[in-house]
């Protein structure tokens, strides 16, 4: 097992192709027989999914299939009613302390950015490190500036979110999540509220983040991103995981006819 890990190159790429070398690695997320209902509506049905450390997962599927709900269960923005979710060895239960511990380690990026409009970009980024991780302000600000540099908008640090373009706001949102030093990043359709020319600048940041070895779960319809970055693509429909496979297999040789139908529909456009 150890030699499998030691053989990995840092980008998780062999001859430029992602390989499923994480099987032996420790699990970051372990979802077992998870079920969730909204009232009497059964949104998630018998979900089983394992995400290993360092792995990049892309989740796709038709609208209403439960993709958002599933990843929102991982940091308890939604509560599941049956089965278990274990994040970095901590099982999600009613226990508020455990939920807090998990949220500290899991960063999340939303479709609509959800920046805090009354705070500047820099204040958005340092808020949680200062109040949750109790970092000294100076240290938090230095880290935040370094991360804003990484997402290529250090010059916007003192502006308010309302003064930025959508793409810039989304990059701030990514920097804000990274400021907490997360072990896992969740993305819920981070580019689907953006104009076409802004999508690329956000995807570039996400690719760069993937290359740095971050464990990522992305709900996205950007199939180009899935092909180049993902270790595994998870396809969902009607609250179920229909199929999961490395992108090479997923796009060229899907096992399920439901997947094939979905792919033919999105590739048409």
């Amino acid at each position: 097992m150890t030699d499998i890990i030691s053989m990995q190159d840092p980008n998780g790429l062999v001859d430029g192709h992602p390989v499923d070398h994480h099987v032996g690695a420790e699990a970051m997320i372990q979802i077992t027989d998870m079920n969730k209902w909204f009232g009497s509506f059964h949104v998630l049905r018998d979900i089983n999914l394992t995400v290993h450390k360092g792995e990049r997962i892309v989740v796709c599927g038709p609208s209403g299939s439960g993709k958002s709900t599933m990843i929102r269960c991982v940091n308890r923005l939604e509560e599941h009613q049956a089965g278990s979710i274990v994040v970095d060895g901590i099982e999600l239960t009613e226990d508020v302390k455990k939920i807090d511990m998990i949220r500290r380690e899991v960063g999340m990026v939303f479709q609509h950015f959800n920046l805090f409009p009354h705070l500047t970009v820099l204040e958005n980024c340092v808020l949680s490190p200062i109040w949750v991780r109790k970092e000294p302000r100076r240290q938090a600000e230095e880290r935040a500036m370094a991360l804003l540099e990484r997402v290529k908008i250090p010059e916007q640090a003192l502006k308010y979110p309302g003064q930025l373009s959508g793409g810039q706001q989304q990059r701030v949102a990514i920097a804000r999540a990274l400021c907490m030093n997360p072990k896992l990043m969740l993305f819920d359709e981070p580019t689907s509220a953006l104009d076409p020319e802004m999508i690329k600048e956000v995807l570039d940041v996400m690719v760069q983040l993937a290359e740095s070895g971050m464990t990522m779960v992305c709900v996205t319809h950007e199939m180009g991103f899935a092909k180049t970055v993902a270790d595994r693509v998870v396809f969902m429909d009607s609250g179920q995981v229909v199929e999961q496979a490395p992108p090479s297999e997923f796009f060229t040789n899907p096992k399920s006819d439901r997947t094939r139908l979905f792919l033919s529909q999105i590739l048409k456009h």
């Binding site: 940091n75 308890r76 923005l77 807090d100 949220r103 500290r104 899991v106 960063g107 999340m108 939303f110 609509h112 959800n114 920046l115 805090f116 409009p117 009354h118 808020l127 949680s128 109040w131 949750v132 502006k159 308010y160 979110p161 309302g162 003064q163 959508g166 706001q169 804000r176 999540a177 907490m180």
Partner: protein, 378 residues
């Protein structure tokens, strides 16, 4: 076409920006204003004419009464010889309007209260005040100031003779009532509003009942209850101050209103803000204090100030339980037979005092809104 481009070599369809020109004179300045606002249609011309006529009818006599043929100096009604306003009356009763029955030798204590109030309020209006100073003055005003003032006005400690609250009156009483009302109603209102949106049924029910109870009764009956009924329910011998009872009544009543104003703001916060705060690991109180409340309160500043202004003016209702605020003091003075007909002067003075404070609050809130504006909403 090519020979028309001055550079000659440039292609005929190259883009050249048109330099900006000033707008025509009919579109700017006073001319435009008059055209747009006063004479834009026959109906508007007519309304303008009527308006000018009414101004001509009302304003000159008013100025004549209030200033030109008014009497300013003197000490008794004999000095009011002209047929204009008798401001002598206001001058002679000024002390009573401001201090009520607060004993003469102790009035410096009230003056200190006024001075301190001015000292931390005036800098808030000056644009050059640094943010840190503003903040600390604000904190002083909300915490230490009410305590210091209470000790100072009540006396009975540090060698200050005690002055019972029955003697308080005039503008000073108005300010005490409304200041305590404002400073207490805001935080209680915030807690009630949060409680009403709580997921815990017990807390929610208590808050809903509290709000609906106090909102459902008129302030007059609250004050009557506080002054007349409450003592009947209290055990024999237990008796607490009438002013304190009135204050509690006002605070309860106004915080119920405040709670609903703030709840309006809380409902305007998108769900995404709560989720982003939760995802960052902020707990309920931190998310509320750092993310939700600052935005919600900012959104409802006009409503909050509206409530404050209403509160300020509602304090006059304490008249009916025998406390003499500034309006009560004026009313008690104008019936004095030694002065003849001075009711208008007295009421104008009282109205002017109210207007100054209410206008001040309104201006402050507008300044605050401008300051807190952080770019366009998306």
């Amino acid at each position: 076409m090519a020979e028309m481009t001055p550079t000659g070599g440039a292609p005929a369809d190259s883009f050249r920006p048109i330099p900006p020109r000033p707008p025509p004179s009919s579109a700017v300045g006073p001319v435009r204003w008059v055209r747009e606002n006063l004479v834009s249609s026959p109906l508007n011309v007519l309304l303008t004419a009527i308006g000018l006529y009414l101004i001509w009818l009302i304003v000159p006599p008013l100025i004549d009464w209030a200033l030109v043929s008014a009497d300013f100096f003197g000490s008794s009604s004999d000095d009011c010889t002209s047929d204009g306003a008798c401001w002598v009356f206001v001058g002679a009763r000024f002390q009573f309007f401001i201090y009520g029955f607060y004993p003469d030798p102790e009035r410096w204590r009230v003056n200190i209260m006024f001075l301190m109030l001015a000292a931390f309020l005036v800098p808030q209006f000056l644009p050059g005040t640094p943010a840190v100073v503003r903040k600390w003055l604000g904190i002083f005003g909300l915490t230490l100031y009410p305590l210091i003032t209470a000790v100072l006005l009540l006396g009975g400690v540090f060698g200050l003779p005690a002055v019972e609250t029955g003697k308080w009156g005039g503008l000073m009483l108005t300010l005490v009532l409304s200041y305590v009302g404002i400073v207490a109603a805001l935080p209680i209102g915030i807690l009630l509003a949060l409680g009403r949106r709580s997921h815990m049924p017990i807390i929610r029910t208590i808050c809903v009942m509290f709000i609906e109870l106090w909102r459902g009764v008129p302030l007059i009956s609250v004050l009557f209850m506080a002054s007349v009924m409450l003592p009947l329910f209290l055990p024999e011998g237990v008796n607490f101050d009438k002013l304190l009872r009135a204050l509690i009544g006002i605070v309860m009543f106004q915080s119920a209103y405040m709670a609903e104003v703030i709840r309006g703001g809380l409902q305007g916060i998108p769900k995404g803000q709560y989720e982003a705060a939760a995802a960052l690991g902020l707990g309920y109180w931190r998310a509320t204090g750092l993310i939700i409340l600052p935005q919600a309160l900012k959104m409802v500043i006009p409503g909050i100030v509206n409530t404050f202004i209403a509160l300020f003016k509602d304090t006059t209702l304490v008249l009916i339980i025998g406390l003499f605020d500034i309006l009560g003091a004026v009313q008690a003075s104008i019936v004095d037979p030694a002065w003849g007909r001075v009711a208008v002067e007295g009421y104008v003075f009282a109205a002017f005092c109210f207007w100054v404070f209410c206008f001040g609050m309104s201006q402050y809130s507008q300044g605050l809104e401008r300051k807190l504006h952080t770019g366009h909403k998306r």
